[in-house]
Symmetry: C2
Subunit: 310 residues, 2 copies
């Protein structure tokens, strides 16, 4: 089923306790598209880059079936750039540099052929007003809309964010963001408040502590795979989102049971991303490696409770 | 199978964002014994209290099948007292008062009938030197020895702790303690280092983030149940330990598969403990309530992955 993703194609410069990079290719939509490409033969991107974005990376995405007709290339401008430094626990980071560049005036253009043929829409992290524009510029409402956002937008654009929230099916945020958005400390209470804002499904990403899916009265918990080495968490959330929606688009089944599987696949892909800097690991996986990793998740989480003990 | 537990029967005064208590009955062995009593009709305790410890609480434990022949009552002394205040996130706390009292000179006396008839031994949190004495004063080595400890002993009695570690089968500690004990940040690496210190099985308790079990090449992750209200985390780890070893003693099966089930039962009981101050909730459960809670854990963690997607 047709999948459209939005988000940045950008540059990152990353420092972690394990090393640092120069400017490397990153951005939410890069990770989303790469992750989704393991599930769907074709997907589409709406985004913007500057003339400095390497053409060979665009060619690479195209060779993976990513249609870039919705990508604006502003030859005289520069791509979005983010630089950050992770603390020892890898759960927190300081932003060192944010250069909006092409994002400053980003006006998303949706190719006509996408407008009535987008079944799955991944609204990757961008200004809520842009996420809303994309949604409004489609002529037929997708079957499933997944929104990713972050605390930054809650700080400076909460009203816009609330407008987008009303129109999406699934929201993915981390635990701190869920607390900020809801004003509730308990994630159970936070989930209740947030789902009243719009999304029927809420995924709370807890990094190394796994992910929670809330829907109606149902809760599902997916563990994260404990890893010997986490080199760079950048892009883990976007990889998760791309794997999640890629799996749903491939199977074309948006039931709660299938979302559980989508979360496991998303988590499995994210567990690869963090093992190397940037997209290095994510871009070089084989289907066998992915299935073996999923098997590790199954082994990690499976228990059989076949009799009453008390 | 015969279960012997050691640890404190004591007083706590607790402050959390949800309220505060005067001196109430607490202590590791109180929680361990209460939790275990849901699984085994009889268990035994080696501990010490002062004359101030309420006799009706001892009678209550006896009425639950807890044999107190190994409990020393020092009528002219005072019971151990701890007072603490939890922070908003409930994951960290400040100790306000610690009065060792009867613990200062605790010399554990093991009734003769226990010495060659202890199959399951729960070494609850106490000075490592006391834990070691108990182990050495048994004439027949138990089938399974589980050790609980905390950062406090790593700070002041690491050498003694290392001696105990060599002699136990299972260690339960939290994630920060695992990092402190091993000097490794990654829990996978920490587990490897710690298991070289002695315990073949390691359980890392992550509070609201669940628990990990490591053994050989195997890993198992048990989620924590997300709760709308956590009122008081005191005793959660001890409840977990008591439920864990109680379940193993009842089923008399120390396989990895059965330890998974024991962790789910321990987690289920701990999820009750934190819903009220002190032992209030733990002491008033019915088997149906416990089984219903376990069913919630199963629902939370279960997914079916029945086909390859990539």
């Amino acid at each position: 089923m047709s999948l459209l993703s939005i988000g940045t194609l950008a540059f990152d410069a990353i420092e972690t306790p394990f090393g640092k990079t120069d400017k490397i290719v990153g951005g939410a939509c890069t990770y989303i598209s790469l992750a989704a490409s393991y599930f769907v033969a074709r997907s589409r991107v709406v985004s913007v880059v500057g003339g400095d974005f390497p053409k060979d990376r665009l060619n690479d995405l195209q060779s993976r079936g990513v249609d870039l007709d919705g990508l604006q290339i502003k030859e005289d401008e520069k791509s979005f750039f983010w630089s950050g430094k992770y603390h020892t626990d890898m759960n927190s980071r300081d932003t060192l540099v944010t250069e909006l560049n092409v994002l400053e005036s980003f006006d998303p253009i949706i190719p006509d052929s996408y407008k009535d043929d987008t079944s799955y829409l991944m609204l990757g992290n961008l200004a809520p007003v842009v996420q809303l524009q994309v949604l409004e510029r489609l002529s037929v409402r997708p079957k499933l809309v997944v929104l990713d956002t972050m605390n930054f937008w809650m700080d400076i654009a909460m009203d816009d964010l609330k407008k987008v929230l009303k129109k999406v099916d699934v929201l993915t945020i981390n635990d701190e963001e869920a607390r900020q958005l809801s004003g509730e400390y308990s994630l159970v209470k936070a989930a209740e408040v947030i789902r009243q804002m719009g999304p029927k499904y809420l995924i709370i990403k807890k990094g190394e502590h796994g992910a929670l899916l809330f829907h109606g009265e149902d809760m599902f918990f997916a563990p994260a795979l404990p890893l010997a080495e986490v080199v760079d968490p950048t892009g883990a959330g976007d990889t998760f989102a791309g794997g999640f929606i890629g799996y749903l688009a491939k199977t074309d089944d948006v039931s709660f049971e299938n979302m559980k599987r989508a979360i496991i696949y998303g988590s499995a892909l994210a567990s690869f991303t963090v093992e190397r800097f940037g997209t290095e690991k994510l871009e070089s996986l084989t289907p066998d490696e992915i299935e073996a990793r999923v098997a590790e998740f199954i082994k990690l989480a499976t228990f059989n409770m076949d009799f009453a003990a008390v």
